[in-house]
């Protein structure tokens, strides 16, 4: 009668505090340079070490430049933060994938890709998009820096157990509709707080038919509906993806692990606190028009009449108008949301045989060095270059503009990232969230375009 969420969570409870939170054991802690320095500082102030250093993996991603990573970072404050992570990892005996290490990249791309994130695990990181790792069938969620310090000190975290929600999606996705569109559609239906307090299990035929990359995109965006995390029960797609990866179990250990992972599913009669059902054929290619990810609409739709005036004023849009045909200045392909090889394949499929529009500045940023290697192995780099695009080096880049990749004030950016908040991609930047297909359509036409017209 249990949900998969209950099974994984309950198996990790060390103790329940009376009328208080639960003490949850954590299998994997990821640290990036932005939300970890004060946690290490806290350990030093308390005079303690990490309890289980072998369960903690560190890598810089937010500040890393997307060019000339072989040279020192020019911006001194970014450099200090990246250097501080390397020094802290060394001091506390933690594994560190530094800049230019072939295993480096965005932490949420690297974790699954290295086989560090596995089914049945509890996974945390000082980053709200930690929900991404739920795609392998793990309970993964973002935490604050005090909580990072908590896990370093005790390999545990004190948390209230969230409620459970199942979102079932049935049917076949239409032409030009991707996992990103599913997520943007769900956010529009649920608003940015509709799933607050819940952990979401994504289920149904449509979800089963997603590739691992698509599942990672869908789970990545759980937080944008307010959910603490989202996950998908592991299946053959999961096992095929993980097999042979660097940190995944090998040989007899692999067989034993898969036998266990196959038990990781919600019971047939499991009761969820909330159930949502969605039909795949109702989901169009989506774009956002406003300043939170819940302000979305069909790419060929019109801005709702009741849209928040403050958001429209920031974006320079009017209620009731269409976005199709609106000029765009920047296109960003990348981020933990859409920086994987499948996203580059999708982008390349649209731009193949076409040219980048003259008015567009495009930043194509792979999520990791491994993604870049795959892109080259498949010859996608040649397709993109022939169409006038340049591929950069991996990192979070223009998703939150902590490095130099900032969209200038007032400019429009069609972005495959996860947030269109005011100033997210640079002070005054205007972000339109979309899938890699829709981003590619804008990149070659110079305006917001329905990707179905180019497929």
């Amino acid at each position: 009668m249990n949900t998969l969420f209950d099974k994984i969570w309950d198996a990790h409870v060390v103790q329940k505090l009376e009328d208080g939170p639960q003490q949850l054991y954590i299998d994997r802690l990821y640290c990036h340079e932005v939300t970890s320095p004060q946690a290490f500082e806290g350990l030093r102030n308390r005079g303690i070490r990490c309890l289980r250093p072998e369960k903690i993996f560190c890598m810089p991603d937010h500040n890393t430049p997307t060019r000339n990573q072989d040279k020192p970072i020019e911006e001194p404050v970014s450099k200090k933060q990246v250097d501080t992570l390397a020094a802290n990892a060394a001091e506390f005996g933690l594994t560190h994938f530094g800049m230019m290490d072939p295993r480096n990249g965005i932490i949420h791309v690297v974790g699954p890709e290295r086989g560090l994130s596995l089914p049945g695990m509890t996974i945390v990181c000082g980053d709200s998009h930690t929900s991404t790792h739920g795609a392998v069938g793990a309970v993964a969620f973002g935490i604050g820096t005090s909580e990072v310090e908590m896990v370093m000190a005790s390999q545990c975290i004190l948390q209230q157990k969230p409620k459970s929600m199942r979102i079932s999606i049935e049917g076949k996705l239409g032409k030009g509709v991707t996992a990103k569109d599913i997520a943007l559609y769900l956010m529009k239906q649920m608003t940015t707080s509709g799933a607050t307090g819940y952990f979401v299990e994504y289920a149904g035929e449509t979800v089963r038919n997603l590739s691992m990359e698509g599942r990672l995109t869908l789970c990545n965006l759980s937080i944008e509906m307010g959910a603490r995390g989202g996950f998908i029960a592991p299946d053959e797609v999961t096992f095929a993806y993980l097999k042979g990866r660097e940190y995944a179990p090998k040989g007899a250990e692999w067989d034993k692990a898969v036998a266990y992972w196959k038990t990781l599913k919600s019971d047939d009669n499991a009761v969820f606190d909330k159930e949502i059902k969605v039909k795949a054929e109702d989901i169009p290619p989506m774009v956002t028009y406003g300043t939170n990810p819940g302000m979305g609409m069909a790419v060929d739709g019109r801005i709702p009449a009741d849209a928040t005036p403050k958001a429209l004023q920031y974006m320079g849009f009017q209620a009731g108008e269409q976005l199709l045909g609106k000029p765009v200045d920047y296109v960003f392909l990348g981020a933990c949301t859409n920086g994987r090889v499948e996203d580059f394949r999708a982008f390349a499929s649209v731009v193949k045989g076409r040219r980048k529009a003259a008015n567009i500045i495009a930043w194509l940023v792979p999520g990791s060095w491994e993604v870049l290697r795959q892109v080259k192995e498949e010859g996608l780099d040649k397709v993109l270059e022939a169409a006038g695009f340049e591929i950069r080096q991996p990192g979070c880049s223009a998703c939150l503009a902590m490095n130099e990749d900032k969209i200038p004030a007032g400019k429009y950016s069609v972005s495959t990232s996860n947030r269109n908040f005011e100033g997210r991609q640079g002070p005054g930047a205007r972000t339109i969230l979309a899938s890699p297909l829709t981003a590619a359509a804008a990149a070659v036409t110079g305006v917001i375009t329905d990707p179905r017209e180019l497929l």
């Binding site: 005790s154 939170n292 947030r419 005054g428």
Partner: protein, 200 residues
């Protein structure tokens, strides 16, 4: 900042906007510090609403309105603190001098971050919030009283009072200036026992 909570009585800063995200509370470019300098984060709280691009204060933003000076309580619209997990947002709120935030709804991660930084998130009903905004609009010096031991919040202009939820453990931590790590460090035997069991 670790401090013992009991009764907070203060005037309020009103921010009647919904879905205030942590990118607005503290923009990403201020996340590059490697230490917890709460005063630095406090100075940049709501940076892009509070200052014009040239760095001068924006007189239209509530934190620059002298009528609300000295307030230790922020009153915000629903779904406060959505988005990024950045604890810097809680440090900025604490660094500015707020002891409590009153809203009808908080985003999960941010709510925990406030509690871990000795800022009390007080969840009230939509009606209470609406009437509190009205009281502040009518009288910018309107005060609230937050009684942590009794778990009540009172709009002192109208006398309306509501109870709010906080679990017994966190209440104990706040009232005694203890944090979760102090507690967890005492649980090593239980952690090792769990690890042994999980191996089997």
């Amino acid at each position: 900042m670790k401090q013992k909570f009991n009764i907070i009585e203060s005037n309020c800063v009103p921010l009647p906007l919904e879905n205030v995200d942590t990118d607005q509370i503290i923009p990403a470019r201020f996340l590059k510090a490697t230490t917890r300098e709460e005063s630095f984060f406090g100075e940049n709280l709501f940076r892009d609403w509070r200052y014009r691009p040239d760095g001068t204060p924006n007189p239209d933003f509530v934190l620059n309105d002298p009528r609300y000076e000295g307030a230790r309580v922020l009153v915000a619209g629903k779904n406060f603190g959505s988005g990024s997990s950045r604890e810097h947002a809680a440090w900025a709120i604490a660094g500015y001098g707020f002891l409590a935030v009153i809203s009808s709804f908080f985003a999960d991660i941010h709510k925990n971050n406030e509690l871990n930084n000795f800022v009390l998130p007080v969840v009230v009903s939509e009606g209470f919030l609406e009437r509190l905004f009205a009281s502040i609009a009518a009288d910018p010096a309107a005060r609230v009283r937050i009684d942590v031991p009794a778990q009540t919040v009172t709009n002192l202009s109208t006398g309306e009072s509501e109870s709010f939820e906080i679990n017994a453990y966190k209440k104990y931590c706040l009232m005694n200036a203890l944090d979760d790590i102090d507690y967890l460090l005492e649980q090593k035997d239980k952690i090792e026992a769990y690890e042994q069991k999980a191996l089997c």
